[in-house]
């Protein structure tokens, strides 16, 4: 069984989950490869089984996020943490609900938090989750492609260079969608000493494109609207269109 843990410091968890299931009874199924698997929601009070109806954990997060932004859930004191245990290690995914709450329940900002071990295969998993989220919000296909490739380059850099492919070191990813401004921001943090982006970026300008170096940086620089680097954390802003 695929386990999804809802860790919420709130006494009203049953009511929240019940409301959630009632409101979104259709679009939920587990992110497991086996469509027959049920999803186990482990709460502080009791375990709830949602039978084979959750489409993906990211859709679950989207919907929870909607409930909060629409003020249907008011008393969140903590973030929701959803994680999946499998062969490739633990991956945590949760929307940064604190951000949403601090913006006075701004329904136009949706923020999602992921963290994972330094494994190349985890890039695919996070990329899939973010793709689900962007498709859910009907972002245009070209931007979905760009978000995907920027995410892949930044995670690859974090795993290979930041964390030296040390499995035990973590990569943290925050993805936020600002629907009113049509922008999304990807922030990636590793456990390394920081990244000399500027130097490498200047190097590539003078390089023959067929030489086999720094293509990831080139991609991000050419796609991103803004790049902000603080030590071992890089934030990239992209502008999107809604699907026509």
């Amino acid at each position: 069984m695929n386990k999804i843990k809802l860790s919420i410091e709130n006494k009203e968890i049953d009511a929240i989950v019940e409301e959630f299931i009632e409101e979104f009874s259709v679009p939920i199924s587990s992110s497991t490869d086996n469509p027959d698997d049920d999803v186990l929601l482990i709460t502080d009070k009791e375990d709830l089984i949602i039978p084979n109806q959750i489409k993906s954990s990211s859709i679950l997060i989207c919907n929870l996020s909607h409930l909060i932004s629409e003020k249907k859930i008011r008393k969140f004191n903590n973030i929701v943490q959803i994680y999946k245990n499998d062969d490739i290690g633990k991956i945590s995914i949760y929307p940064a609900l604190k951000d949403i709450i601090s913006k006075e329940n701004n329904p136009d900002v949706h923020t999602y938090y992921f963290s994972c071990h330094s494994l190349i295969n985890n890039i695919d998993y996070v990329a899939k989750q973010i793709k689900d989220i962007t498709e859910y919000f009907e972002i245009d296909e070209q931007t979905i492609f760009y978000i995907n490739i920027v995410l892949r380059e930044l995670m690859l850099n974090a795993i290979e260079h930041g964390n030296n492919e040390n499995y035990d070191k973590t990569v943290e990813i925050i993805f936020s969608l600002h629907l009113l401004d049509n922008i999304c921001i990807l922030s990636i943090k590793d456990e390394g000493d920081g990244f000399d982006w500027k130097n490498r970026s200047e190097m590539i300008e003078n390089e023959d494109i067929l030489r086999n170096r720094h293509r990831g940086i080139f991609i991000v620089e050419n796609i991103a609207e803004k790049i902000n680097i603080k030590k071992n954390k890089i934030s990239v802003q992209l502008r999107f269109k809604e699907k026509e």
């Binding site: 070209q142 490739i149 892949r152 690859l156 494109i209 991609i219």
Partner: protein, 100 residues
Amino acid sequence: MKVIVNEQTLELVFEKDLVASNLDEQTKTIKNSLKENTDVKKVSLNFENVKELDSLGINLVIATFKEADEKKKEFSIFNTSTSIKNLFHLFKLHTYFDIS
């Protein structure tokens, strides 16, 4: 990856996305195919099934082009999605080989 040799063309059909987690096996198949088919005059990469790629995937494409070019073989990529075509144009790869 599917390998098709048709007259004097070696067609390599990717069946997975060209991203870091998928590259080892695909790189091996390309190298072996080029080694085993020295008589072909053209090498074509079929992108029909490629929806996502990253810089390591682009590295593989460029390495394949370089190898084909060294051996004086024509090189092209076809069945690319608009997004992937736009990305290749960003790298000006269309100035080195045909992309359709």
